[in-house]
């Protein structure tokens, strides 16, 4: 193995010997988009997600959240759910609301097989990009990646201050971390006769709810 390493590297060095080493471009901040105010940006985010087949909603206040959850549970026939155990979702009382609706709770650190049987996975979002309709989810013990991957329906609840102007801002924040995923719309494919089909491997439905500020 060490010999392979040495040979590959010396091969590269020899190949580059008489060649100019090209510089790194001075700037990568190309085409920063003109961003609007918070409201316009959130509208843009949600409309981009809708265009991709996601379902979005603005939640005005605490009273609306249980109503929205009830509608979701009915519409998607949710029986089992799992969620991130974050301070944010705890403070919102998502777990209690779902339990009150008769949904069985599955711990997020359950086996993949058990998580795959969940109808719903609820997460937050660490950041969002209105330009592309992208959610940024970092993974950690509190924020297991499988919650947004295995259940049939993924619900992400975020606050308006999650919005970022550009991918560069997102990357500056997350590059020091470990695993993360950018999610843009539900799982999709056009592999059979170029017909768009939603939900091939990941969640079949993506719900994104944005809490209004102040949220009371």
């Amino acid at each position: 193995m060490n010999q392979a390493r040495a040979e590959i590297l010396s091969g590269i060095r020899a190949a580059l010997q008489s060649t100019p080493r090209l510089p790194l471009p001075a700037t990568t901040r190309i085409a920063p988009r003109a961003t609007g105010d918070a409201d316009a940006e959130i509208s843009r985010l949600l409309s981009e997600i809708e265009k991709l087949g996601g379902v979005t909603r603005r939640i005005a206040n605490r009273d609306e959240l249980p109503i929205a959850l009830e509608e979701l549970v009915a519409k998607e026939s949710i029986q089992k759910a799992t969620w991130w155990d974050t301070p944010e979702l705890r403070a919102l009382g998502v777990a209690e609301m779902l339990t009150a609706l008769g949904v069985t709770s599955v711990p997020p650190d359950a086996s993949p097989r058990t998580l795959a049987e969940c109808d719903l996975g609820v997460t937050g979002a660490d950041a969002a990009l209105p330009e592309t309709g992208t959610l940024v989810l970092r993974s950690s013990r509190e924020q297991p990646q499988l919650v947004s991957l295995l259940p049939r329906v993924h619900l992400a609840i975020l606050r308006p201050d999650a919005r970022r102007a550009d991918l560069q801002d997102v990357f500056a924040e997350i590059k020091s971390g470990k695993r993360a995923v950018l999610i843009t719309g539900p799982s999709r494919t056009t592999d059979i006769e170029k017909v768009l089909t939603i939900g091939v491997h990941g969640p079949k439905a993506l719900y994104v709810w944005c809490l209004e500020t102040p949220f009371a």
Partner: protein, 466 residues
């Protein structure tokens, strides 16, 4: 096993009309969506992004000897294992050893050109391991025992009826020819494989040197499944995939999906730095050379390595659109295939491919990282004709002469213009509708297989109107 010579012309005669129709339909849609996506960004900004993308890749390629050890150090620090593979034999051996250590029986794979290049599946199957391709198109192609026909849409050559019949035969399920239902069936089958696999294998779209992060983009979510669920993840990545930093990644991601499918960004972008609280217990990174460091030696052809595999050059190529992907005889398709294959497989095997081009220039114009594909095609024609330092030329004398004449003419603007004008006059008597049914010898080598697009000096204008 040595790869047999790729006879491009003979290959074009074995193509189903469905493939050609499907190819043209799909490429047209992709290009229309691409144009929209670029319009939103703005032409000037798009050009600036392309330039940045090109410069970042060329910078990385001319500093590979620095960035690869950086990747190695970061990944190792984070608890991952880095392997170096000089060629396909070594790469296969490394993966087989890891599989043996963990007594692996079932593997899920996400679409990767590098693993196809090293024919990994066959080696694993020979070792008694079940391997499942999980990208829907790749899964279908694997079930059918075929090769992909398009870089980003592997099952393009099959109709929904073909796929339904295939599922009935191979999976023993009642499958109607309906994309949604077929997709549902594949989802069910592959879910089970994801959950029971003891190893996940992926390629990688980018490898970020500054943090040792592997980046995998997929629309279906199979990349996430393969890299998150099985206890062991092995990523096989060509050494040319290294980029310096996350800033560079942002540029690449802005280019990749827009150029390939016209999406603003791919549905899932997985950013995997090993050693977090989450994910597989073990992470292995196989850095694959397999001819790449040799490709670096050629200052002109080297830019081939900047490719981010968006597929746009195939989409826009008039030749690809009329012969389909199989004609390229290998896993490298379209204009990029025509320049990669001779360099990787040697001109003995793939020396025909640089000639499978009308040199209209569209591929170079469309490439999101500004790879001068037409120049490289010409350059490789020279290498084929003059004999390659790595494999002797096998090209026929007729094509050889054509290559020389073509090169001289393009290198001299007035001669090129004269040539273009004469070509049109010369065509007038042969032309029928938009396509030339046949050309006089020696060019009939071409039209014997497929109607050849009428030569136009303003190809791109024609393309937009088509």
């Amino acid at each position: 096993m040595p790869i047999p010579h790729i006879d491009f012309r003979a290959n074009t005669q074995r193509v189903s009309p469905h493939l050609i129709a499907a190819t043209q339909k799909s490429t047209r849609t992709a290009l229309a969506k691409r144009a929209q996506a670029i319009e939103i960004v703005g032409e000037d900004q798009w050009q600036a992004l392309r330039q940045a993308g090109h410069d970042i890749k060329l910078h990385a390629l001319t500093h590979l000897d620095e960035y690869l050890p950086m990747v190695e150090a970061r990944v190792t620090q984070a608890g991952g294992v880095v392997h170096w593979a000089r060629d396909d034999v070594e790469a296969r051996r490394i993966v087989l050893e890891i599989a043996a250590q963990h007594r692996v029986k079932r593997i899920v794979k996400s679409k990767s050109m590098a693993t196809e290049e090293i024919e990994l599946n066959r080696a694993l199957q020979d070792a008694g391991i079940a391997v499942f391709e999980t990208d829907l198109g790749e899964y279908i192609v694997q079930l059918a025992g075929q090769r992909p026909s398009h870089p980003t849409a592997p099952a393009l050559h099959l109709t929904k009826e073909d796929i339904a019949a295939l599922f009935r035969a191979k999976l023993g399920v009642d499958a109607p020819p309906d994309p949604q239902t077929l997709c549902e069936i594949a989802r069910g089958k592959l879910r089970e494989e994801f959950l029971s696999a003891d190893m996940g294998i992926s390629g990688g779209n980018f490898l970020i040197a500054e943090t040792g992060t592997l980046v995998i983009v997929t629309n279906e979510g199979n990349g996430r499944m393969c890299t998150a669920l099985p206890p062991v993840h092995v990523a096989i990545v060509g050494i040319e995939k290294v980029i310096p930093d996350w800033e560079g990644l942002a540029v690449m991601l802005k280019l990749l999906a827009r150029s390939g499918t016209g999406q603003k960004i791919t549905a899932y972008t997985n950013l995997i730095t090993p050693g977090g609280e989450e994910g597989p217990r073990e992470f292995h990174l196989v850095l694959l050379d397999n001819g790449r460091s040799r490709m670096l030696q050629d200052e002109i052809a080297r830019e081939t390595l900047a490719c981010i595999r968006c597929g746009a050059c195939a989409n826009i190529c008039p030749v690809y659109n009329h012969v389909g992907g199989f004609a390229y005889g290998a896993i490298f398709l379209g204009p990029i295939g025509a320049i990669v294959a001779p360099q990787l497989l040697g001109v003995k095997v793939a020396g025909d491919l640089p000639f499978a081009s009308s040199l209209c220039g569209a591929c170079g114009d469309v490439c999101p990282v500004k790879i001068p594909i037409p120049n490289i095609l010409l350059h490789l024609r020279h290498r084929v004709v003059e004999g390659d330092q790595f494999a002797s030329a096998t090209v026929s004398p007729i094509l050889g002469v054509g290559a020389r004449v073509g090169t001289t003419a393009l290198g001299t603007p007035w001669l090129y213009r004269l040539g273009a004008r004469m070509m049109r006059l010369f065509q007038a008597s042969f032309r029928r509708g938009d396509w030339l049914p046949t050309l006089p010898p020696p060019l009939d080598r071409w039209t014997m297989a497929r109607p050849f697009p009428a030569f136009r000096s303003d190809f791109r204008a024609w393309w937009r109107r088509r």
